[in-house]
Amino acid sequence: MENVVEVKDLKKYFPIKGGFFGGVTGYVKAVDGVSFSIPAGTTMGLVGESGCGKSTTGRTILRLIEKTDGSILFKGEDVSAMDKKKLRELRTKMQIIFQDPYSSLSPRLPVGEIIGEAVREHGLVSKEEYQDYITQIMKDCGLQSYHKDRYPHEFSGGQRQRICIARALALNPDFVVCDEPVSALDVSIQAQIINLLWKLQEDRKLTYLFISHDLSVVEHISDSLGVMYLGNMVETGKTNDIFAEPLHPYTKALFSAIPMPDPEIKRERIILEGDIPSPANPPEGCKFHTRCKYCMACCKEKAPEMKDMGNGHCVCCHLYDR
């Protein structure tokens, strides 16, 4: 299968300004060497704690923020080398759904305009077809055509997220970054939105990068999975493989922390001590060694490398050095 997105060794450093003259005193290494690829028509999940750089990765791929180093290929073309005109064309092919449906919609525009603005701007459909096109998109996303003249404040959280999805899909993209699309919603609404994303993927052959910290949601929606910790990918592979046998100690701890809706299951929980270290001053060697219970001498000195454990299941840990 052809890869829609290929990311190689992506780095994004945010400068820290300080001192008397406001010079750069250091860097926050939000994303520090991340590589993955997403085949067409599949979903890749990206999980990790807050501050591990998963959202930054998503945004850097779309060039909403400029990368520091590495390469991003979209259908074989280098995204970061594109000029303005090319990039503008690309914008219709890559879209994003944001986390908070309350703050990502303009309160002053009616819903029809929110969804249709970009369609008109890019001239995707003719003037005559425009209204029908918007109505169709809204219908696909579970909105009624009479919602077109209403304003975002008249909608509930779930419906707003539908508007966000409709806005992203109106441009007929190939690749959509879903940045925590269901985190702000109630359980029953969450299920509706996940089902909708599923249906749209089947109908339109979409490719998703699904960013979330809710592991149970990610397990349900994604085909492949990437676990991030402090700007690094620590484990990648097929979702089923990782959930069946997590290899990295961080993944293990993360999975054991998921609360299960069954009072009779008593699992052994791995409680991680302390907080995630600051990305401005990450620990030497393996970044996870400060919280890892299998920490060895070499973990403190040398950063581990990605190793393939078979079937595309890669892990980045010294425990698997042979």
Partner: protein, 372 residues
């Protein structure tokens, strides 16, 4: 009724607000009397093993578009030393229930208009609904403490952590010296698992991470050894790993000081791990209550069943997630039939009648539905 269910004319709105003022000022006047006799708020517990008993509590908000019955006849009890989980979607009244218990509902528009909340404070049993402010002040913090949802906004950004924890302890133990208070604060910070307790004592809230701030909130809540801890979505804003830490901490502290916990959350997983008893709320009413095993192994109310099915569970694959059709009904002027009827798949002829009464299935398991 105009084209939109929510629409009311300005004239109508003025009339409603005039009526509301009449009702609320009457309640306020009654509450603000100088001397309220003890007989009005001291009662007896129905069951001495309970810490709190909610008995048909009604908390209404008198708004300009009509009366919102945020809590409408809620009854359940919190036994001593147990954890009770309250589950429901946003807007179902779970937070208002806990605010009613603390008498922290935004007055004068919000009022507890009926029912009894009996709280066993050790010496006396107090009916919180009628208790005067002075009595409430002694209860809050001392006897019942609340851990709020957002540790980011519940701490004051301009005071040091130490000052904020000190303040509460100094208020409740007025005879203590400053050194004693400080020693206690630092002890509390250590108890909730903050390693650098002296350092944190001098820090400002912005210097701490979300998990650390939630620990500080818990330290503040526990500083007076309360009989009841109300945890209002204590882990919603936190990561899973930090959530696991906080839940473990709550469990450990509960067994150490032997208090009861009222855990309010929308995460069924958290409830299953923590709670002994579960109360499921929908649109201001309790639809089902029972022990955790009963609720999770044998849910009876269609809403509870729907909630369970709609949550994705790790290790259980489904083609499509179940989703409850429709939306929560408009809270203004609720219908007099079952609130869940319009979204229910098991709706029968009987459901067209009055709101279903609570049916007792076992000693602990109750459900409010005709079709069981």
């Amino acid at each position: 009724m105009a084209k939109d269910g929510n629409y009311i004319s300005a004239k109508e709105s003025r009339r409603i607000s005039r009526e509301n003022r009449k009702i609320t000022s009457e309640i306020e006047k009654k509450r603000k009397r100088k001397h309220i006799p003890e007989s009005e708020y001291v009662t007896q517990m129905k069951d001495p093993d309970n810490c709190v008993e909610f008995d048909n509590v009604q908390t209404h908000y008198f708004t300009d578009i009509g009366t919102v019955k945020a809590v409408d006849g809620v009854s359940f009890s919190v036994p001593k030393g147990k954890t009770v989980g309250i589950v429901g979607e946003s807007g179902c009244g779970k937070s208002v229930t806990s605010l009613s218990l603390m008498q922290l509902v935004q007055r004068p528009s919000g009022q507890t208009v009926g029912g009894e909340i009996r709280f066993d404070s050790g010496e006396k049993v107090i009916n919180v609904v009628n208790a005067p402010e002075k009595v409430m002040r002694e209860l809050r913090g001392n006897q019942m403490a609340m851990i709020f949802q957002e540790p980011m906004t519940s701490l004051n950004p301009v005071f040091r952590i130490g000052d904020q924890v000190d303040e509460e302890i100094a208020l409740h133990f007025p005879k203590w010296t400053k050194e004693q208070v400080k020693a206690r604060s630092i002890e509390m910070l250590g108890m909730v698992g903050i390693a650098n307790k002296e350092g944190v004592y001098k820090m400002y809230p912005h210097e701490l991470s979300g998990g650390m701030r939630q620990r500080v909130m818990i330290a503040m809540a526990l500083s007076c050894d309360p009989k009841l801890i109300i945890a209002d979505e204590p882990t919603t804003a936190l990561d899973v790993t930090i959530q696991a830490q906080i839940l473990d901490l709550l469990r450990e502290l509960k067994s150490r000081i032997g208090s009861s916990i009222m855990l309010i959350t929308h995460d069924l997983g958290v409830v299953a791990e923590m709670a002994d008893l579960v109360v499921v709320m929908y649109a201001g009413r309790v639809v089902e209550k029972g022990t955790a095993t009963e609720i999770f192994k044998d849910p009876r109310h269609p809403y509870t069943v729907g909630l369970m099915k709609s949550k994705p569970v790790v290790g259980k694959h489904v083609k499509q997630l179940y989703s409850i059709p429709g939306n929560v009904p408009n809270p203004v002027d609720m219908p007099n039939y079952c609130y869940f009827r319009d979204r229910c798949e098991r709706c029968t002829e009987e459901c067209k009648g009055a709101y279903p009464p609570m049916v007792k299935l076992t000693d602990t398991h109750y459900v409010s539905c005709y079709d069981i």
